[in-house]
Symmetry: C2
Subunit: 409 residues, 2 copies
Amino acid sequence: MPVNLEPLKSEQLAPVKGVSLGVAEASIKKPNRKDLLLITVSDQAKIAGVFTQNRFCAAPVLVSREHLHSKLPVKALVVNTGNANAGTGEEGLARTKRTCDEVAKLLGCESTQVLPFSTGVIMEPLPIEKIVAGLPASVADLREDNWFNAAQAIMTTDILPKAISKQIQLNGVAITITGIAKGSGMIHPNMATMLGYIATDAVVSKAMLETMLHHAVKRSFNRITVDGDTSTNDSLILIASGAAEMPEITDPGSHEFIALQAAVTDVATFLAQAIVRDGEGATKFMTINIESGHNEAECTKVAYAIAHSPLVKTAFFASDPNLGRILAAIGYAGIADLDVNRISLYLGDVLVVENGGRALSYQEADGQRIMKQDEITIRVVLNRGSAETTVWTCDFSYDYVKINAEYRS
Amino acid sequence: MPVNLEPLKSEQLAPVKGVSLGVAEASIKKPNRKDLLLITVSDQAKIAGVFTQNRFCAAPVLVSREHLHSKLPVKALVVNTGNANAGTGEEGLARTKRTCDEVAKLLGCESTQVLPFSTGVIMEPLPIEKIVAGLPASVADLREDNWFNAAQAIMTTDILPKAISKQIQLNGVAITITGIAKGSGMIHPNMATMLGYIATDAVVSKAMLETMLHHAVKRSFNRITVDGDTSTNDSLILIASGAAEMPEITDPGSHEFIALQAAVTDVATFLAQAIVRDGEGATKFMTINIESGHNEAECTKVAYAIAHSPLVKTAFFASDPNLGRILAAIGYAGIADLDVNRISLYLGDVLVVENGGRALSYQEADGQRIMKQDEITIRVVLNRGSAETTVWTCDFSYDYVKINAEYRS
């Protein structure tokens, strides 16, 4: 079961004025489950997006990128689970465009005003007729208080839906930020195998919205890993519907910009951590802090070397303080001039390594005490500068193998 | 059980004149198992070595590197299993030096003429008194026909010992090459978590021996991965005892050099592949060929992206032709200008992907047929140049998690 991730309740999610959601059961991979989501936005809405850096990106990623930069404003987003439409060549591209055409027909807009998203099995043909058949039901279901169903409709191997709402005051105006995300395996930054949709009713210029999104992604979805596999379909969309009564945010130095950016980052961080908490087979949630590095890039290298190590992850699964495996990962992280004799390692509040060797004060029982917890912080002090970073990950269990060995069955 | 790796028989291993081996049970981690190996070499022997590139390298790696470059010729190698003596700071270094001192005393040579090696758990103090107590028995056991016991004495999580002998004729003189290696988990090039010792009775200059060793390592131990974790203790040693009746090999263009280098590479390749076949929890042996790349470096990136992907490895464990996961790995391998529309993918003899999409001729049943085999070749044609590379790996099973979760218990 997910690590300290509470089951979601519908009433925890606040609608965002100007953003409607409709879901349908289209039997894309299996019958009797919500697998199709349509999101429509108000005419004045602004949209920003970031997408996977995988070169084998899926057809919907190519089309969404293109449509996001076309002249007409985005009117709708359409998401299917059960099939990633990746590794499907020209035919996959044609089917994604057909999805946009059909949505456009139903909503009375242009095909380029529709952003498509897919998640699921790679390299299988998108069952386009099932999607087309399901779309009218998703249109009929469109409403603003439908985020709970939307969070469910984008799940694949996720055990729990992931969503959160936050409200802030901007000069006395109540502003809502609500976000949903999916992802559990094939999770690695740039970005994780995830889809995320965050919406606010605030009025924000497109340029400011893009700045906010990149700020938030860098601190959230690009700081997590489950298994080091970067997906073909990752997409994160930030929508500002512009429905609130307030002047447009255009100044990155303004109080309003800073407050909204912080709230969006909070929502993104919650969702990103929720993906790790619900990581495939996860039994522990690990925070990896790398401190006093020469620069952030080397801190990130060390953090991911630890976070990706199957040996570290299986030791955490076993609650075994076999902490030499962390040292090995630090050693092969790729910092050529690393002086290991300066390194300290803490597990929770326990000093484990000092000056590159086992600390004299370290007792295995202390390590054991921390390893038994389900939220564990690993802190590495490189003692060579003032940069730092944080990465979140989970352990590696039998169930990860089971889930991924049986994924398509 | 290891994938197509036959249990070793003592009579398959030929002694190498001028190289003696002695083993002992020193109860380093557990009682009643061979865990200490001493190798002595003739006075005229030449030795070459390559070591882990992990910055957190073990104390014995530091000392072996130093002793290998000291003025006096190497007389002996001493290997313990059960403890890696890594992450052990100054005290670890002192204990390694003490091991060399004791060997030197017993053999009547200088401490700098002894190369020490350790493998086992990281960050635990080396039980030096147990090693010292065990050394006389290993001296008493020294003999040339002792490779079989030596192969057993260096095992950790290995299920089977790994060794091979090969004989070649150099101008009518029969030359023997015998090698042993250990390694099963924490296996990744630069180098793998492995120890390897290859010896020949040929007469070879030190410079030529080093050239041969680097040639062989590049094509064998640096082309394998089990879990992507680079160990703190990897070491591979090539010994030429010089006991054969032949002129010294000093010319890299000579027939003798080329023939011996090929034989040493064969032995190293067998041992490296044996490590993958006995990879922790392995049920399948996978050969990954990357072809027609722009250069070898990018071929290697793609090969290791596939070989390290937990999603690819679990799909192979399940015999599930979920081959889109291979495409995803190719896509995130880090080739910025990769045109995925030129890529072909073969599984065994089956064309799976053509022009970046699922091949029209591909049938899931054909993929399934190959996936059920225990030796599988994955062939990726990048269609952007003439470089190529090959990497060997294994799948990722429940037993990998089990072995590594329970390693210290």
